[in-house]
Amino acid sequence: MHIEIRHEGFSAWEILAHYEAQRAEEMHGNFGATAVFVGTMRDFNEGDDVSVMTLEHYPGMTEGYLARICEEAELRWQIQDSLIIHRVGDVRPADAIVLVAAWSAHRADAFDASRYLMEELKSRAPFWKKEQLNHGDERWVEKNTPDPGAERLGKEMKNKKKGM
């Protein structure tokens, strides 16, 4: 498991190449399926052009919840490893915001786990986005839209959770 809050820009593909190279000996030949999701900044939202986005987080709590979400995924699916990298600070269009990955022997587990990681991150990890629009205004993004296809993944685990 690897969790990281990044204050500087990153390339998802470089991180994955580096991470897998580091773990090559341990992982060699024992996984067959890697599912990855990368969220990048778009230059529009709700009909407006966005030039810069500032990502805030709650240091300590954020890392705690990201680790917990990975642990839940590792309990729930047959995955050998999971990774979450999330950017904070000022990001610009096309910059990577989030990278999640799940490694498994089975493709169904890798797909389900990566989607679960994203959904739980978006609904529980304390991050907030403020957009700077091209015409100078600022606004906070009010909420994340849930992924209907991820609903079936969250249910069982949510019943076990206290509070949220």
């Binding site: 705690g64 990890a125 304390p126």
Partner: protein, 77 residues
Amino acid sequence: MTIRVKFFASLREQVGISEQDLENDGVGTVDDVWLAVTDNQVMPANVLIAINMEYVEAGTTVTDGDEVAFFPPVTGG
């Protein structure tokens, strides 16, 4: 008792406080902490609350030394 109170994102801007130590023996629940720190403002319905970095409900009891955080719906990812 001492409670460390934190606000994040839009709520930090609205309340005008990032972090504050509340010294007050009259607070019992998270609701009380909110009222004491915000000068009796009404808590918005969608506020999320954490004690010591764990999500809790507004009625949860606070203990000396707790860190209580208030923030709007999360929007990461």
